[in-house]
Structure formats: C-alpha cells, structure tokens
Subunit: 192 residues, 2 copies
C-alpha cells in the first residue's frame, strides 16, 4: 500500500508543479507563451504527461483560476478584517481587489477573461469561486442599502470593479486615477 501512496503523492506533486509552472510562465510571458510544448519542457516531462493530468490546456487554465480564486478570497478577507466600519471595509475591499488584479494579471485573466471550462453562477461552480464571491458579499452586503438585495448589489459592485480592472490593464483607462475612481465608486454605491 505504501508504494501506491507514494506514487499518488508524487502524482499530486507533479500536478501542482504543472499548475504552478503554467501560472509562472503566464505571469512572466503571458498566456500565449504557455504552450503545451514549453510547459512540458519546463516541468521536464513530455507533452502527453500533461494530458494524463488534465483534459487539455483549458483545464490547466481552469486549475490556475481556481488556485487564484482561493488566493483572492484570502486577500480580500485579510484586507477587510483589518478595516474598521462598513465604509472602510468596502474601500479596503475594492483596493484589495484591484490590487490583486494588477499584481496577478495572468491569474486574473484565467479567472475572468479566458475560457477555463469552469461553471459560474451555477450549482456545480467550483467551491473556491463561490467562496471568492462570498468574500465580496460579506463586506458589500452590509452597504447595499435598505430594500436592495445584497446579492444583486454585490454583482453590480463586482462588475464595476471588474470593469475597472480590465479596462485599466488593457490601457483603455488612463492609469494613475485608480484611487480617485475607487473613492467615487465607494462614495456613490455604498450606503453607510
């Protein structure tokens, strides 16, 4: 039995290596550079090994997305727990969200821009993704205002953050005014 366990452990290690390498490569050179050939070379195995862990490149992107969602949820909770009062929490949340997107562009793309073959807003949505949304909901729900459904409010706030994150990074919005945009967003949307 111990032999089998060792093999399972090694296999799990290798799978983590694949995901970590794909993520690293994507952050360094963009997702276009994450080809199955280069990825295989980096992990020092041949291409078919990748396909013994994942159905294809899409699933690898999905794995990076799930890993990223867990990290994002943790980052959001860390930021909000250090803030006092609903308004400060929401501001910290927004800053942390945009900060995460800026620091981990490839992971953010895997989560929200690329097709990772993941379900969303669905019952079989992977747990980390639901949890990341829950992390948003925790702080945003308390500033939704009377008579406004917290979930709907969170969706709207999230959409605004997502728009800011993607448009800024794509050069569609002039960088540098992020702070002012966040302040305006919180001022208007959040009801203390």
């Amino acid at each position: 039995m111990s032999v089998q366990e060792r093999k399972q452990r090694e296999r799990a290690d290798r799978e983590r290596l694949i995901v970590a390498t794909a993520r690293e490569l994507a952050e360094q050179q963009g997702w276009d550079a994450v080809t199955t050939r280069l990825l295989a070379e980096r992990i020092e195995y041949s291409q078919p090994v990748l396909y013994s862990h994942f159905r294809g490149k899409r699933e690898i992107i999905g794995a990076v997305a799930i890993e990223g969602a867990a990290e994002m949820a943790a980052a959001l909770r860390a930021a909000t727990s250090a803030a006092d009062g609903p308004r400060a929490r929401v501001t910290a949340l927004a800053r942390a969200y945009l900060d995460f997107a800026e620091r981990n562009p490839a992971v953010y793309d895997a989560m929200f821009q690329l097709d990772g073959g993941l379900a969303f807003a669905d019952e079989d949505t992977p747990e980390p993704l639901k949890d990341a949304f829950a992390a948003l909901l925790e702080s945003l729900g308390e500033v939704a205002g009377d008579g406004v459904h917290p979930g709907l409010f969170t969706e709207l706030f999230w959409a605004a953050l997502h728009g800011l994150a993607t448009l800024t990074r794509a050069g569609r919005l002039p960088a540098g005014d992020t702070g002012r945009r966040v302040k305006l967003l919180v001022d208007r949307l959040a009801i203390v």
Copy 2:
C-alpha cells in the same frame, strides 16, 4: 488616371468586404472561427490578399473594432436623444450600451476584449473610439454631480457597464436581472 481610380475603388471595396466578412463570420461562429484561410475562402481570394490590405489578423480585428465603435456611438446618441431629462437619458444610455454588447458580441469583443492593436486613451487613438467615449460623456457628464470631474465619472460608469456586459455574457452573472442592475446603477451613480 481613370484606370487608377477604378483600381483604387475596387481595392477599397475589397477591403470593406474583408472587414464585413470577418465581422459576419465572427458573429456567426465566434472569432476562433475567423481563420485567415476561411476568411480568404469567403471573399474568394487567396490568403496573401488579406496581407496586402492588413498587416495581419490583429489589424482585421482592429478594423472591425473601429467600425463597431462608430455604430455604437450612433446607437448611444440615438437612444439618448429620444429621452427627456438627464436621468432618463442616462438610463437609455446604459440600456443601449448593454443592448449593443449583447446584440454584437463579436464586435464588442473586437473593441474591448481582443487585441486589435489599437491605441486607447492616447492622442493617436482612432477617431471613432474617441467619439464613442464622447457619446458616453455627453449624457454622463451632466449627472456627474458637483465637484466631480465628468471624465472621471464617465470612466467609472463605463467601467461598470463594461463589467456588466462582459460578466453577463461570459455566464459569470446570472442573466435576467440586467434590468434591475441597470436601475440600481443609475439610481446610485447618477446625481440628478
């Protein structure tokens, strides 16, 4: 001279045909299906002809984006001009924007999701793109509120719309609540 003019005209016609065909193909089967081979076949020329008009596929996407921006600007102005009062105008604007994104997903992707090799928020941004932003600014500027820079407000409002458009279409947000989200967005952001 007349011969040269005819040739120039024919060339311009063919260029329009390329862009229109690429757009049609993208709307029907998605941008992934817009391969240079299939596109060439559709316009009944060989692949290299495409490269005598555009530097590459990216520039073709860019051309579709510019065409789309002009249409979007017109659609936004048509919607706002039919509405009375600032608040009604902003609501109409938001609806028209999301409607355009939903009806022309491939064009919307060309404008904001894909790399069309276009400059943004820059002095050498193509005119139609600047004009589309101007169309947003015209209606949004009047509800920015005192002491808030109209441009900054427009950027934020636009980011929210963009987030709603992309997240909804990608299945990240449950469809069907768009109307309520738009109402909430306008209620909170716009200052009548």
